[in-house]
């Protein structure tokens, strides 16, 4: 009885949280009696009284929005709905008309969103994958879908600006510049076979030679023409160049936009403010419905992640406890192992270099052996990409980093290996084409490129990229059929110890994503020389999606070690950007430095590919020329640069201010919590004193 005012008072003062910090015994008992949900109506955050009031004030937001998100049982929600509906006739006719309009607009929006869902590519598959295997694996498939859409849109771009005009204006149009230069350089005869056997078509399909070489697939087929009718004027070489440049810029914008959405999530989670343990405990379960075996694995997964964190703690303690001697030994071991890993990677590069040169010397071979020599660089690259990371994993065991550092180091090494091996391949090709950079050497003196070995060197580079893409696809198919399905059949049906130790395959997200990044980088490098490569890559990635999905559901078990979904998506986009940078470097070098072949292609009589831009520039009208000069001049670019610096500084300052205010608010929250506890203790003490006084007063009487 006398404790009533205390409880009511405390409830008024702290109504945002129903239970106060230190419930007295009766209070706690009361809470335990009240076990049904309905009594939890005074739960935080959803003050029902405000909702109908808002309704009457604005008259705009429809009931569905508020009602569905209220955490009440259905019966109460329906009661609230009835109350809301009964309030409607009070408003004027104009407001009711507006309300009906917003409601129908709302329904229309819902229908539109549902139909949009229908058009989203593979939505149901991704939902199923996410539901069964969790966010980490789903992020791989989302990344794959992003790449498919990117490649398809790029193909549409290239088709619209380069392919279709080339087809349409094939016969029309005049040559841009009349031929100058020695006649030997202009010799290019790709169809010199005559009668060919049937299987040769198949070999040609795989290696891009023969009937495929002189087709729209490769650079060599496009013509150096400009069409100028009365109403239409189209400069095909210029279109080719600008489309290539715009394609790169467009891909970069897409990647950055996607990175922006992921980064927003990563930034919103704050720095190290929230630790690992609570997050793993409350949000760590990747739910699935795959049966008992998968559940045990999921539990092991959570257990593994917790153990990783526990182990990191103990490792840190141990590392702090090392003597100086042990520290020196450990660090020197790590440096040595780093060199060993580096040495392995360099050995892989040397292998690629040798293989490419050897493949070039044997380029005249026929038949299956010829095909093998054509594919030799691809084979060496793929083998290196497979073997070297395995060895590096063994090295990492000796290095004894913390588990998270080990993962990051392994990933960085794998990325470095893949991208730079591609770079080595290209570098070797460039060496062959430009006679090792020596323009005046015997082979290159005449045409400034090695015309004997490569009469049309752009097509050759395009073919190399085409072969890499095809080989990647073939290897994936071969692995699926020859390794993954048999492995599952062996493990499931043969119950020996070896089979159980090998176990079913695990879907390792990081390796697969690196494969995707590698494939995309190859396409970017090759797009300038093989304009249809994005289309081929779209088809390849679509096939890859279905192959991976099949393998995931039939052959894989849930992974024991998982990735944090969000940060890894960001990391993959960063790696994709590295690939993009490599491809851009290649493109810039090809555009600016090497002389285009004189026998083929749209740039055949230009000293460099870029030189078409100045040539066409001077054909524009004087006003446009002056305007463009002005934009490029210092009077415009320096103020623009200064302005963008100012804008960037503004955003950086804004971000740091937000970060500081978040930290301040967090500290304030802590302080207020402590204040509340202190006050509650005071109230209890006072009320106890009051009770004692009352009892003694009563005893007196």
């Amino acid at each position: 009885m006398s404790s009533e005012p205390q409880r009511r008072g405390s409830r008024e003062a702290y109504d945002y949280d129903e239970g106060n910090g230190y419930p007295s015994e009766q209070h706690a008992l009361r809470l335990r009696w009240v076990s049904s949900r309905a009594s939890n109506q005074s739960y935080p955050q959803h003050d029902l009284s405000s909702t109908p009031a808002e309704e009457n004030e604005e008259g705009d937001s429809g009931p569905p929005r508020d009602l569905r998100a209220i955490p009440l049982p259905m019966a109460l929600k329906r009661a609230v709905r009835q109350v809301q509906q009964m309030q409607v006739p009070v408003v004027s006719s104009r407001q009711s008309w507006r309300r009906k309009r917003t409601k129908s607009l709302h329904e229309l929006k819902e229908k539109a969103r549902e139909s949009l869902y229908f058009f989203t590519l593979w939505r149901k598959s991704l939902q199923k994958i996410g539901g069964n295997f969790g966010g980490g694996v789903q992020s791989y498939f989302l990344f794959l879908r992003f790449l498919v859409v990117l490649n398809f849109v790029s193909f549409l771009l290239i088709a619209g600006f380069v392919l279709i005009p080339s087809i349409v204006f094939r016969s029309a149009g005049t040559s841009l510049i009349n031929s100058t230069g020695p006649d030997e350089c202009k010799v290019y005869d790709p169809n010199s076979q005559g009668l060919v056997e049937f299987y040769k078509y198949f070999l040609d399909l795989l290696s891009g030679t023969g009937f495929m070489e002189y087709s729209y697939l490769f650079y060599g087929y496009y013509s150096n023409t400009m069409v100028e009718n009365r109403n239409v004027s189209y400069n095909i070489p210029l279109a080719y160049l600008f489309t290539a440049i715009f394609y790169f810029v467009f891909c970069l914008i897409c990647i950055i936009a996607r990175m922006g959405t992921t980064a927003r999530v990563a930034v919103a989670t704050g720095g190290s403010a929230v630790g690992n343990y609570s997050v793993i405990v409350f949000t760590g379960w990747d739910y699935g419905c795959q049966g008992d075996r998968a559940t045990k694995l999921k539990q092991k997964n959570v257990h593994y992640r917790l153990q990783v964190d526990l182990e990191e703690e103990s490792r840190k303690k141990r590392a702090a406890a090392l003597t100086l001697c042990q520290k020196i030994a450990l660090y020197s071991l790590r440096v040595f192992m780093c060199f060993v890993a580096f040495g392995l990677i360099i050995a892989a590069f040397y292998g690629i270099f040798v293989a490419t040169n050897f493949s070039q010397t044997k380029s005249g071979e026929e038949g299956i052996l010829g095909l093998f020599f054509e594919y030799l660089p691809s084979i060496v690259i793929t083998t290196g990409n497979f073997v070297v990371p395995l060895l590096c994993d063994q090295i990492a065991l000796l290095e004894r980093y913390t588990p998270s550092t080990t993962v990051i180091v392994a990933l960085l090494r794998a990325v470095f290996l893949r991208l730079v091996s591609l770079g080595v391949l290209l570098f070797t090709l460039w060496d062959q084409i430009t006679c090792k950079g020596d323009i005046d050497s015997h082979d290159c003196k005449l045409c400034q490129y090695n015309y004997k070995v490569h009469p049309c060197w752009e097509t050759r580079v395009g073919q190399e990229m085409y072969k890499l893409t095809m080989f990647d696809l073939l290897v994936n198919i071969a692995l699926l059929v020859l390794v993954e399905f048999p492995r599952r059949m062996v493990v499931d049906n043969w119950s020996s110890k070896l089979a159980q130790w090998v176990g079913r395959q695990e879907f390792v997200v990081s390796t697969n994503v690196l494969g995707l990044v590698y494939g995309q980088t190859v396409v970017w490098t090759g797009a300038l020389f093989c304009p249809l490569l994005p289309l081929i890559n779209t088809i390849k990635f679509v096939l890859l999606f279905y192959f991976r999905k099949v393998t995931l559901f039939y052959n894989c078990r849930p992974a024991l070690k998982t990735f944090r979904s969000t940060t890894s998506t960001f990391f993959f986009l960063v790696v994709l950007t590295f690939g993009w940078c490599l491809a851009t470097a290649v493109m810039i070098y090809s555009l600016a430095e090497i002389r285009p072949s004189m026998g083929c292609g749209p740039f055949r009589f230009f000293p460099s590919m870029w030189s078409i831009v100045p040539t066409s520039f001077y054909r524009l009208s004087t006003i446009t020329q002056d305007f463009l000069f002005f934009i490029g001049s210092q009077a415009f670019s320096i103020p623009l640069f200064a302005l963008s610096c100012v804008v960037m500084c503004y955003f950086i300052a804004l971000a740091s201010v937000y970060g500081k205010s978040v930290a301040l608010l967090r500290a304030q929250l802590k302080l207020e919590g402590r204040d509340k506890q202190f006050l509650v203790k005071q109230i209890e003490k006072l009320s106890r004193q009051h009770q004692i006084l009352k009892h003694t007063a009563g005893a007196y009487e």
Partner: protein, 198 residues
């Protein structure tokens, strides 16, 4: 519509549509699933709002819930009597609150209630221990369990009363990157099966 015996009246369907995140079709599918659990108990005709409750033991046999370590707690939280016997209203409520389209805030509220085993509106250490044990099914040693619980409490408890109030929980969970993006959590039922029911 209207080719078979009607399960709900128009206004019932509208009420359901307004109060949950489901469309009419999905609500009827849900009724089908509900009926599958206890065909003799649940009538086909719901037009007069029969008061039928399917017991806990039948609900947790659903494929979406069977493997979830928190299935009992989930069903208890959404039941009106607190013992896990769900009427159809509760059933629809449960799936609506935990489906993919429901907002994060709503899920956070229900997640808090589910993790609060002793229903005192706080997640205390015992609640945490029970959560962890259900998650890892006894794989961790008792010392590790208490270490993880201590560390989680330390990280998430803002006002220093050694238990998590709703605001602590919400603050911690809203920062988890996976939670924001994919809403992975033991509690959340992914519904890959509900849309495939014929």
């Amino acid at each position: 519509m209207g080719n078979k015996q009607t399960t709900f009246t128009e206004e019932q369907l509208e009420a359901f549509q307004d109060c949950t995140f489901f469309t009419r079709k999905e609500i009827q599918r849900l009724h089908g699933r509900y009926r599958e659990l206890a065909p003799h108990l649940v009538p086909l005709d719901y037009t007069n709002n029969p008061d039928i409750r399917v017991p806990l033991t039948l609900i947790v046999t659903m494929p979406e819930l069977k493997e979830n370590p928190f299935r009992d707690r989930i069903v208890e939280t959404f039941s009106e009597d607190g013992h896990g016997n769900l009427s159809f209203n509760d059933f629809v409520d449960m799936f609506s609150a935990l489906c993919e389209t429901s907002p994060r805030e709503l899920k956070t509220i229900y997640a808090f209630r589910i993790y609060d085993f002793n229903r005192d509106n706080f997640i205390c250490k015992e609640d945490l221990k029970m959560t962890l044990n259900k998650l890892t099914k006894g794989e961790l040693t008792p010392e590790e369990v208490s270490l993880v619980c201590d560390k989680s409490m330390e990280e998430a408890d803002l006002d220093g009363d050694s238990k998590l109030s709703f605001s602590d929980f919400e603050n911690m969970v809203s920062k988890a990157p996976d939670f924001l993006r994919y809403q992975d959590s033991a509690v959340f039922i992914k519904l890959p099966l509900i849309n495939n029911v014929p």
